[in-house]
Symmetry: C2
DNA sequence: GACCGATATATCGAGCCGATATGTCGGACC
DNA sequence: GGTCCGACATATCGGCTCGATATATCGGTC
């Protein structure tokens, strides 16, 4: 699942591991922080599979403008200040980094991972990830992805309703509230998907 | 994290692994299906730590009435029919099972796990799990749990808003929709927690 | 009486995570 | 000007969970 994320980011720009992690953790948002303990092995796997290759850290695209970081501590603020000053200087080469680029095999693997139905455990995170990269899919594949997801949610909802009906009395208030809240969230997810599907069908601009 | 779930279920009734798995997968709901590959090692760990012990499969509490299972296949339906018939007979001892019971050390561990702040990765699942067992907490601890969770969500929301503001233009429509939907979900989670907190403060019955 | 599926326990490989180790580099401070 | 600190950068380790698989028993079907 991490491979997909790595390939998706590398598709846009070649990067080294450390920067890649930063992109992943803020692009893929508050949920699912990527750790180095997963990232570097994943990169090694991808390199072994020929999906990415290490390139010489030659003349890169201009460094991204550093966004103001959220540190929440005095020391962190000072560090951020220094970081901004440092970033204002011309790009330092820093010869100890390994810059990775996606290969053709990597592009193929990316497409494959994007349509493969994911492991049932972290299904939710996997779908979010796919959605973040589904712009690379042809429209009919994208639609298929959405509908597949919708079917899964509908099934989950039906199961939840059955559970709710059969053992309503045997749940305490907190568990009941949890289940109800989860059911509502699933319903909202479904109607959100309905909006995405409608948008896709009309091929329009009003999401 | 799985330890907490096991202890919580064993707190109510002593069970063997297979039945324990069934309870976990339908009690902890559609999300997070527990696998044997986690369950049996976890049981072994707990036994090694003295938190649970294997008891003789002596005269048990009456077997739970089997709920009508959702199978979704013809063969499954037939199997369910046989299962119902089988369950109608008196409890079969089936001497190959190991029945586990919680110990005093297990109870202590349970309380400890219930208030410990969990790993950041699967924070959400951990909180859901804690909520399912928070009835065992004294009211002020429960309130603390809710407020801690609320603070985490508020922080997550603030971070999401910052991200949204700083790189709105650089996201495609799908990613934007994903982020927006996630933000809404977090807002709903917060107001849900507010209801739980209000319920807790008034100590009343209207959840 | 052979077969099948439910019951039941257990192990294996792989992936991911948090923690940690190691090293470089630039700037701050005295 | 030397030293220390923190950011940058790569990598490994142990532990947990997962899906898949192996193994065995038992009841019911054909």
């Amino acid at each position: 699942m991490l491979e997909l994320a790595i390939l998706g980011v590398l598709k846009e720009q070649e990067l080294h591991g450390y920067e890649l992690k930063k992109r992943l953790t803020d692009a893929l948002g508050a949920f699912s922080s990527v750790s180095f303990g997963s990232l570097y092995p994943a990169l090694a796997r991808l390199e072994a599979a020929g999906a990415v290759r290490a390139v010489s850290p030659g003349p890169q695209a201009p460094l991204p403008a550093p966004a103001v970081p959220m540190t929440g501590s005095i020391a962190g603020e000072a560090a951020a200040f220094r970081a901004r000053r440092a970033a204002a200087r011309p790009a330092r080469p820093s010869r100890t980094r390994k810059v990775y680029a996606i290969t053709e095999r990597g592009e193929a693997l990316f497409e494959e991972l994007l349509v493969a139905d994911s492991a049932s455990a972290d299904d939710d995170r996997a779908f979010n990830l796919k959605l973040a990269f589904c712009r690379y899919l042809p429209p009919e594949r994208r639609l298929g992805l959405f509908e597949q997801r919708r079917a899964l949610l509908v099934e989950r909802l039906a199961k939840a309703r059955t559970t709710h009906r059969t053992r309503l009395g045997r749940m305490d208030l907190y568990t009941q509230s949890l289940v109800d809240h989860g059911t509502e969230a699933t319903e909202r997810d479904i109607s959100w998907l309905d909006r995405l599907i409608a948008f896709e069908r009309q091929g329009g601009e009003t999401l």
